[in-house]
């Protein structure tokens, strides 16, 4: 990435934020993905070698949030709701309308939620800023996540695992495992042959 923070091919008149690190070989389809980005962390989003994000990917990243995309990670339209840390491993494939959220952004208690909601209209812009405990998400290398899936706070998806379309993952998934359903359950484990990386 050069010091020019616009993209020649962009339809959106935006820029890549200063604290976003994009590897020379990475691809950002549109700066629209940063329309809700407000991280103040150094490297608030980091693109590894050959990583790419396409239309529909939204970095809804709060002031303390950090998102890391590994080498050749391919994100085709995830809603990334991040107030702590979301890491996406090398070669991970993430489909459209996937929600990765490391925080609920609002207190679980209705009375406390009211207090925050009453403060929102006075803010410019109207972001939620309640002090809610965020729990990092880790998507390990070589993971594949199908469309419309939701990955909830605190979840780790182990290396090489597959999350079926429309799954809602509420607990961590071991390596080399296929999960599916809402709530997601183990469908099967990849066998020894399937786990081979050299074909």
């Amino acid at each position: 990435m050069t010091s020019v923070r616009t993209l020649d091919w962009d339809w959106h008149p935006g820029t890549i934020p200063e604290n976003v690190i994009v590897h020379d070989t990475a691809y950002v389809e549109s700066t629209f993905s940063f329309n809700l980005y407000r991280s103040q962390q150094p490297g608030g989003v980091q693109y590894g070698r050959g990583a790419s994000t396409y239309l529909g990917t939204m970095f809804d990243v709060g002031p303390h949030g950090r998102v890391k995309l590994g080498e050749f990670a391919l994100v085709h339209g995830a809603r990334i709701i991040c107030d702590a840390e979301i890491s996406i491993g090398d070669y991970a494939l993430i489909s459209w309308n996937v929600v990765l959220m490391d925080t609920y952004r609002l207190p679980a208690n209705p009375r406390e939620r009211r207090k925050e909601l009453e403060l929102v209209p006075a803010r410019r812009p109207r972001f939620l800023t309640a002090d809610v405990h965020a729990r990092p998400i880790r998507i390990e290398r070589n993971v594949w996540i199908g469309f419309d899936a939701c990955i909830l706070p605190g979840v780790t998806i182990g290396e090489g695992s597959i999350v079926g379309a429309k799954s809602v993952v509420i607990e961590s998934v071991p390596p080399f495992t296929i999960v599916g359903g809402n709530p997601a359950r183990v469908i099967r484990e990849l066998d020894r042959e399937e786990r081979k990386l050299d074909g």
């Binding site: 209705p110 009211r114 909601l117 209209p121 419309d148 909830l152 809602v168």
Partner: protein, 197 residues
């Protein structure tokens, strides 16, 4: 959310604003309520008086208010919706302090009849060759979402459902039945997994 909060022409019916223009005349927006997104009223066809009434202090980012000819939708005070798709042919009533996450759909109708023969008639009526042919009747039942309900992203709320006060609907849930107050629910179909503390 990053839209400006001014409405150069001033709002017709109300104290609230839509960042992209003037809402239809039968829309009422309360004080400090802000709507954003150019698709907000793209499929707003209701001819009912006060078809859409939203209270004060609400934030409606990229929400689609898709109301059929006789649809009526009301939203209370201090609600916060992000890209919710609200499909309303009859009635949707949403209380105060309700939060709805990104890409959640709420509908009070199935849009098409269940019986195959009626669906053929519906397909014909809806086609470019339909020429004003009447559509068969379709099941519609009001959706009621009470105060303090939290609904996560990617959820679906179907016709006839009442969600009780303070309930927590986990991301991705598909809600097909009533939800008692203060329940935590998730899944497809959604099931109770506990109570709100």
């Amino acid at each position: 959310m990053n839209e400006t909060e001014s409405n150069p022409q001033g709002s017709t019916a109300a104290a609230g604003n839509w960042s992209n223009g003037i809402p239809p005349a039968n829309v009422k927006l309360g004080r400090s309520t802000l709507l954003t997104g150019e698709l907000a009223f793209k499929r707003f066809h209701s001819i009912e008086p006060d078809a859409l009434v939203i209270g004060h202090g609400c934030t409606m980012d990229d929400v689609h208010f898709d109301l059929g000819k006789n649809g009526r939708l009301s939203v209370g005070d201090f609600c916060y919706f992000t890209y919710a798709v609200l499909l309303c042919e009859l009635e949707i009533r949403i209380g105060n302090y309700v939060v709805i996450g990104w890409n959640t759909t709420i509908t009070d109708t199935d849009f098409h009849p269940v019986a195959p023969a009626e669906r053929i008639a519906d397909a014909l009526a809806c086609s470019p060759l339909g020429k004003g042919r009447a559509r068969p009747s379709v099941l519609k039942r009001p959706v009621i979402i009470e105060d303090d309900v939290w609904i996560g992203p990617n959820a679906t709320i179907l016709k006839g459902v009442r969600i009780g006060t303070g309930s927590w609907i986990e991301a991705g849930s598909v809600v097909t039945r009533d939800v008692p107050p203060r329940s935590r629910i998730m899944g497809n179909p959604a099931q109770t997994i506990g109570e709100v503390a």
